[in-house]
Amino acid sequence: MDTNLTRNLLALLARFVSGASVRWIDSQPDTCQRVYFANHTSHLDAIVIWSSLPQAVRMLTRPVAAKDYWSKGPVRRYLANQLFNAILIDREEIKVHQSPVDLMIREIGHTYSLIVFPEGGRSEGREVGEFKSGLYYLCKKRPDLELIPVHLDNMNRILPRGEVLPVPMLSCISFGPPMWLEAGEMKTDFLARARDAVRRLKELE
């Protein structure tokens, strides 16, 4: 089947299962190079963010995902490689000369946008966890990238940790206003600011 058609069908299916309503708060969808960073509570997160972008933007957006999960079995491999065009990161052995950040920068070139989850893994509770430093190093090397905070609500009830079958419920995805790494901004300050941007979207509900 035509890959683009399959992509659109999958996006529709993801929208239906997640019952997601999409809000852009002081922000607009755009095809410029961006990094969407979100809180991570469910395996569906990347798919749902990807499917809630307008089609033209979706074509240029690549989720960053864990290799150990997404390269298991032919279905996941097909989804990750053919449909989402995901950038798979090896979490088990991080090589010095091939850091995940370098890989991301090489893969996106000057066209693609990224979906990342800076908490590293899925957080257990409702609180947004501390951010790992990858987002900072990414921005340090490419300060031109626009950062868009994204908050996902209720996704962990649709497909909680360790479950396989999703329960259809309603969820809400909020895209926030763009931000950048300021010149000379310290790592911890920047990561705290980014985390606050996601948490602020949660409070707006």
């Binding site: 019952g19 009830r157 419920m169």
Partner: protein, 329 residues
């Protein structure tokens, strides 16, 4: 389509069109002295009615199966809204999966096939026993009864009760006066039911706007008054009596259509106040505003949910009684 059905649809179209015109005119005249908020509520209602009418009309044209599928989808969406506002625990995940992906479709398949003996009990007996057992199996005993009751209530109100609306299509109706089988009767019965529910909602709201107000339960819903309930029910009873020709109660018994309308109005009130209580407890105003952009299906169908099973059973008893009377006379 038989002339009676066309008459009924024509009447509703005319009512809707005139309601739209009235809204347009009032909106252009801010000096008319009508509260803008009330006008806006009415405007939204009329728009929801147009959507409801269009969907119902389309489903009727496509046949019984399409109508059952349509109500199944509405149920599914309402249940999603219900579960979303109801706090559950991770241990309930598989129970919720069974409820929304197995019992909900099953109920509507059974309704579509007309197995009255099965669809009338599959949820209140089998599903209601399954739910606590499955939660227990998950091993989480915190607030056990409360969680089981929440899921059971959601399934009962959003799925079981609503499925009785399309079940009206499957009733065996008495033949027409000239002896022909009443093929369009089921469609008319469902249309009559939805019309009366919506009118009773609107008329109860309209009557509760009159100045002398006696609020029934101020802690639950400050807009529902005795004036609204009694006035709305009285008006809807009158309308039901006038529409008796559209119902299967047409064998001269206009009072039966009137009585049924009164029952629908009272059950609609019960549904509205129950849902208000749930919303009060959860601290949300509308199920729709909970997740921005969604219409709030549950807000629109609460009165249908409560009225449908009672209307179905009353009609069914009447049909059985009627048949029995014919036999002995």
């Amino acid at each position: 389509m038989d002339p009676r059905t066309l008459w009924l649809i024509g009447t509703v179209l005319m009512l809707l069109a005139s309601a739209s015109v009235v809204v347009r005119i009032l909106k252009r005249r801010p000096e008319s002295g009508i509260d803008a908020a009330i006008l806006e509520t009415f405007h939204l209602r009329v728009r929801a009615w147009w959507i409801l009418f269009t969907i119902l009309a389309a489903a009727f044209l496509l046949g019984h199966v399409a109508t059952v599928v349509l109500f199944g989808l509405i149920s599914f969406w309402a249940l999603r809204e219900f579960i979303t506002v109801t706090p559950t625990r991770p241990g309930d995940h598989y129970t919720l999966f069974w409820v929304s992906c197995v019992f909900t479709p099953l109920q509507f398949v059974l309704v579509g096939m007309g197995y009255y003996g099965l669809y009338s009990i599959v949820i209140p007996v089998y599903a209601f026993l399954f739910i606590p057992a499955r939660i227990a199996l998950a091993g989480d005993y915190k607030r056990f009864l409360e969680r089981a009751a929440k899921i059971q209530s959601g399934l009962l109100i959003c799925v079981y009760c609503l499925s009785y609306a399309p079940a009206l299509l499957m009733l065996t109706l008495p033949p027409l006066d000239n002896g022909d089988p009443d093929t369009g009767g089921g469609v008319r019965l469902l249309f009559f039911f939805v019309l009366i529910v919506q009118l009773s909602d609107a008329l109860q709201y309209a009557w509760s706007q009159i100045p002398r107000r006696h609020v029934i339960v101020p802690t639950i819903n400050p807009t529902r008054t005795w004036e609204g309930l009694l006035g709305g029910t009285a008006s809807v009873t009158l309308i039901g009596a006038v529409l008796w020709w559209a119902t299967p109660f047409h064998g001269g018994s206009w009072w039966m259509a009137a009585l049924m309308s009164a029952v629908i109005s009272l059950m609609g009130f019960a549904g509205g106040i129950t849902m208000s209580a749930i919303k009060r407890d959860r601290g949300v105003k509308d199920y729709g505003t909970l997740v921005e952009g969604h219409g709030g299906v549950l807000d629109r169908i609460d009165s249908i949910c409560f009225a449908a099973p009672v209307f179905f059973h009353c009609t069914r008893w009447w049909l059985v009684l009627n048949h029995f009377m014919d036999r002995i006379s």
